[in-house]
């Protein structure tokens, strides 16, 4: 297995006092589904955004697909971003545009400024977008405006937008935090499926420990900007949970063993 992404001593400081990430080291292999867990304010969102440079890390080194992320120039940054798809808790779609238009935004990184601004897309691009929309069960919504969709549908549009980029990695920042349990399952199943069938690496920030345990190949736990756990879901002991969340697992209403059984029944 090849390493796709590597963090080496990455730190991020906001202003002069807020340390969001400090000395973060980890690496992610191609085709893995990695969950990042940790309490609010631990730095999960910051970590994901450092990968596609929506946020610039203060120090350290991030290697993605052989590129030194922190030192690349403008042109290469655009190229880097086309290889990284991202989905968000709030979907972040342009509500007044149609599903189809929103999905095709994923192709903007491949276009010149003018062609992209005018919204001209190749027939192959449109055909590919349609195919992806169909695979996500959205073929009936393609000409609907995004403000007419449900949360679960919006998130699938978000996934489609990321997939038309033909990315190497998919970053998901709390993709199911605003969804009900059954829509959450649909979204997580899609992410798992994307990972397994297309071999796209998935990094997902989660607040739901049971979901992280059920779906991930690996879990990274962070607390106060530091990686405090990095291992298989089966290795996430009570001690580790206590270290990540700072309180006893029993007090958190979490049972590490039980959700797994539930998952197998589903």
């Amino acid at each position: 297995m090849t390493t796709l992404l590597q963090f080496k001593k990455v730190s991020k400081q906001y202003g002069s006092s807020t340390v969001a990430l400090s000395d973060v080291n980890f690496s992610v292999n191609e085709g893995e589904l990695v969950s990042i867990i940790g309490p609010s304010g631990a730095g999960k969102s910051t970590l994901l955004r450092c990968i596609n440079r929506l946020i610039d890390a203060t120090s350290g080194e991030i290697i993605f697909d052989g590129m030194d992320v922190l030192s690349i120039g403008r042109r290469n940054l655009k190229k880097l971003r086309t290889k990284i798809g991202m989905i968000f808790q709030n979907y972040n779609l342009v509500e007044r545009l149609s599903v189809f238009e929103n999905v095709l935004h994923g192709r903007l990184g491949y276009k010149t400024a003018l062609v992209g601004a005018l919204g001209f897309y190749h027939e192959e691009e449109k055909a590919r977008a349609l195919e992806i929309l169909k695979s996500l069960g959205l073929e009936e919504q393609i000409y609907k405006r995004c403000d007419q969709l449900s949360g679960g549908q919006k998130q699938r549009v978000g996934i489609a937008r990321a997939l038309v980029q033909e990315p190497r990695v998919l970053l998901a920042d709390e993709p199911i935090a605003s969804l009900d349990p059954s829509s959450s399952k649909v979204i997580m199943d899609h992410l798992k499926n994307i990972c397994e069938t297309f071999g796209i690496t998935v990094l997902v920030n989660l607040h739901q420990l049971d979901v992280a345990l059920n779906y991930s190949d690996r879990i990274i736990g962070i607390s106060s900007g530091r990686v405090v756990f990095d291992g298989m879901p089966s290795a996430l002991t009570h001690d580790a949970i206590r270290q990540i969340y700072g309180s006893d697992p029993d007090g958190l209403n979490l049972n590490v063993e039980r959700p797994k059984e539930v998952a197998q029944k589903r």
Binding site: R81, I84, F88, G109, L118
Partner: protein, 286 residues
């Protein structure tokens, strides 16, 4: 003076809501409410003092008001053409409308670019602040004054009116547009940046579609303002159009009947504009 304990509002923090005269108070008097009350009272007092100390000279207040109403009656009850015909009046009205359209269009086009620089989320802080500052200064000077300022170099007339009115429209619309851009969800910009989209692509594919409704409605509001100003400019700056005719009727011919006609025509146009803007907004929102 002794205040009975019941009349005194009790402290909020003693656990119970304040009671005045045995009744529950709906809200607590805050500093800002107090300031508003003081201001209103001061304004009322000043108004009374103003009316008492006016230098009325020969004019008797009540008689003056009565005469005004008689004039109103002449204007509105018996409109009649005398110096020009209906087609001529329509022609003049069109000139006034064109002045409004032209200055709004110029203003909107330039403001669209400036507002992208002025919006904090699309530009950087230095550029945004300098554009905003400049626009605030321009906006602080009334439109009429800008027209008169430009009249110094262009001479009184339509050129000064077009430049001056456009100038003020630019600053007004820049503020309006940039504020609607700033209301845009930061996450959408982030998402498109994450796809590798550039600045122009983000503007055209996310910012403009999202704020189209407010851009159109602000532009229309400005057009309504500019139509009114065009009428005034016809009189004050010799920009021509229906305003000039009105000025001539009132100041030279003293023809109140014809003024009535003009007033009705302007009113009709204003109502038509209102109706159009409502229809347009409905269509865009759908």
């Amino acid at each position: 003076m002794a205040i009975s304990p019941a009349a005194q509002p009790k402290m909020v923090n003693d656990g119970k809501p304040p009671l005045v005269n045995g009744r529950l108070k709906l809200r607590v008097l805050t500093k800002s409410m107090l300031a508003i009350r003081v201001t209103l009272i001061a304004l009322a007092v000043l108004t009374v003092i103003g009316f008492m100390t006016f230098n009325y000279q020969e004019v008797h207040l009540l008689k003056g008001i009565a005469t005004t109403f008689v004039n109103f009656k002449t204007i509105f009850a018996s409109p009649q053409f005398s110096h020009f015909t209906f087609p001529e009046a329509v022609h003049q009205l069109l000139i006034t409308l064109s002045l409004g359209v032209l200055t709004t269009l110029i203003g909107a086009l330039i403001a669209l670019f400036l507002s992208m620089l002025a919006a904090e989320n699309l530009s950087n802080k230095t550029v945004s602040n300098s554009v905003k500052g400049l626009m605030a200064v321009i906006r602080a000077v009334p439109t009429v004054l800008w027209v008169l300022i430009f009249a110094v170099s262009a001479g009184l007339g339509s050129v000064a009116a077009v430049i001056g009115m456009s100038f003020h429209s630019i600053s007004y619309l820049t503020k309006a547009y940039s504020e609607s851009f700033e209301e845009l969800d930061q996450g959408i910009l982030e998402a498109l940046q994450g796809c590798g989209a550039g600045w122009w692509q983000i503007i055209c594919q996310a910012v403009l579609p999202s704020s189209l409704t407010s851009i159109v409605s602000w532009t229309f509001i400005r057009f309504e303002i500019n139509f009114g100003v065009s009428v005034a400019m016809g009189a004050a700056a010799g920009a021509g159009g229906i305003g000039y005719d009105m000025f001539m009727d009132s100041a030279f011919y003293y023809n109140l009947h014809e003024m009535g006609v003009i007033t009705y025509m302007i009113l009709a146009v204003a109502m038509l504009l209102e109706y159009l803007s409502l229809q347009m907004k409905k269509r865009i929102r759908a």
